[in-house]
């Protein structure tokens, strides 16, 4: 019996009740607890420190008007990171592997940056369609290319996150399946696959963190262009 590998990406249901909202909220609720103390323990302290570093990193290049988006961006990053990291544990559901979630985040936010750019700095945001210093003969082609690149941004943003996570989890499941079935015929292959699985797990942890960071970073870049 070959199990359906894509079952892990099916939306969880409990007695016909959809648990998607729980899967989305739970990581943030569990991992990120507020504290009323001025001086906190190690966990919250490290979390605060990490968030401060990331905030400085991402929000520094933005002009002052863009700093209104700080709370939103950082919350988004925290949510995505926590969702990605928790999904690495066994028998968990990956909300960010669902295109519905990532597109629902990417598309409106990209649209918001474009609208801000068009409303506040119409000429400047239109000027982004032609990079500086481009040869005159290439201008028509470049404008078309830049327009397409602009329009593809939300798609890229959403699909990047979903695809990375889906691919990673799928590979992990495949390798695990191989380890389960391989020892009987050939155990040296099992050792090789187990090593690869370990390395892949390390990669998946890195990807989980990086993809969340990249999502927020790209949004901040799009905001920087338009604000």
């Amino acid at each position: 019996m070959i199990p359906n590998l894509f079952e892990i990406f099916a939306t969880p249901y409990l007695l016909k009740m959809p648990l998607m909202w729980l899967a989305v909220m739970m990581p943030a609720m569990v991992l990120f607890t507020p504290s009323q103390h001025l001086v906190t323990g190690r966990y919250i302290l490290l979390k605060k420190w990490t968030m401060k570093q990331f905030t400085k990193q991402i929000m520094n290049p933005l002009p002052t008007q863009g700093h209104k988006w700080t709370v939103f961006f950082m919350t988004l990053m925290m949510t995505l990171t926590s969702m990605n990291m928790i999904s690495l544990l066994p028998h968990t559901f990956t909300p960010t592997a669902q295109l519905a979630l990532t597109m629902a985040l990417a598309f409106p936010l990209w649209m918001a940056t474009v609208i801000i750019g068009v409303l506040k700095k119409t000429t400047r945001s239109l000027a982004h369609f032609l990079p500086e210093g481009s040869p005159t003969i290439l201008i028509p082609a470049l404008v078309v290319v830049e327009t397409i690149s602009l329009l593809i941004r939300p798609l890229a943003l959403g699909v990047r996150l979903a695809a990375n996570l889906t691919a990673g989890h799928l590979l992990l499941q495949l390798m695990a399946l191989a380890i389960i079935h391989l020892p009987t015929p050939m155990w040296p292959a099992t050792v090789a696959v187990a090593t690869t699985l370990m390395l892949l797990t390390i990669l998946e942890v890195a990807v989980a963190l990086i993809q969340a960071y990249v999502f927020v970073l790209l949004l901040s870049l799009y905001l920087q262009e338009n604000i």
Binding site: Q36, L46, L89, Q173, A176
Partner: protein
């Protein structure tokens, strides 16, 4: 809908002029956040160290709970039995998820064992830096206040010396006045003496001039009054006197 009406009723007067759909939202905008503590319950004190755990996840209290009845191996027997029960009854099914679970859990254990102490030391250092900074602020505030107290006390002690200061100043001024007065007195004396000396010198000069004049006049009169006959007689008298004297002297020798 009803809640929106209630919110609209709560909205300040200025916002009620807006359309109902907007005024409810603008109430949220006009409300201030984080003006005070969100929950007024007393804050529980934070324990300095976390609860003791065995094997990273099982609290020590569980082992202590089972110890009186089952001894040291009790919890481990319980754990093994539970796992075997779950697996044999196929409540927990061995799937590929278990293998990937083992991979990620072993990775987590490795990372925690290897980098745990470093990260913990870093976190403790962050706390210590924060504490040290707060302590430094407190100490600098205290020291600046102490300095202020010291300077205030010094100023207060200086107030007592004020009397002596003014006394000295008064003395100085009196001395200066006295000096000035004496100088003026001396000047007056000198001027008066100068005038009197002038008068005295004038008087002396007059007397001397009179004397000289008188002497000259007497000499002139005497010389005019000497006739030639008198002159011859006096010369002869002188010669005879001299002869007498010379005889006397020869006699004495």
């Amino acid at each position: 809908m009803l809640s929106r009406l209630c919110q609209r009723a709560l909205a300040p007067l200025a916002l009620r002029s807006l359309a109902p759909s907007l005024s409810a939202g603008t109430l949220q905008v006009s409300r201030q956040f984080h003006t005070g503590q969100q929950c007024l319950a007393p804050i529980t004190p934070l324990p300095e160290m976390g609860g003791k755990v065995r094997h990273g996840v099982i609290p020590e209290e569980f082992f202590e709970f089972l110890y009186p009845k089952t001894g040291v191996t009790g919890p481990y027997m319980f754990g093994t039995g539970l796992l075997l029960y779950l697996v044999s009854k196929e409540i927990y099914i061995i799937t590929h998820e278990l293998v990937s679970g083992i991979a990620i859990v072993s990775l987590i254990i490795y990372v925690v064992k290897k980098y745990g102490p470093t990260v913990a030391a870093f976190a403790d250092k962050l706390n210590e830096d924060y504490f040290a900074h707060a302590l430094a602020c407190k100490n600098s505030a205290i020291s600046s206040l102490e300095e202020a107290i010291e300077s205030e006390k010094k100023e207060q002690s200086r107030v007592e010396g004020r009397k002596y200061l003014f006394e000295a100043k008064r003395n100085n001024v009196a001395m200066v006045l006295e000096t000035n007065y004496r100088e003026r007195l001396l000047t007056v004396y000198n001027e008066v003496k100068k005038r009197l000396d002038y008068q005295v010198a004038l008087h002396h000069l007059k007397r001397r001039k009179e004397q000289d004049h008188m002497i000259n006049w007497i000499e002139k009169s005497v010389l005019q009054s000497i006739t030639p006959q008198q002159e011859k007689e006096s010369i002869a008298k002188c010669i005879s006197n001299l002869k007498v004297l010379s005889k006397n002297t020869q006699a004495a020798v």
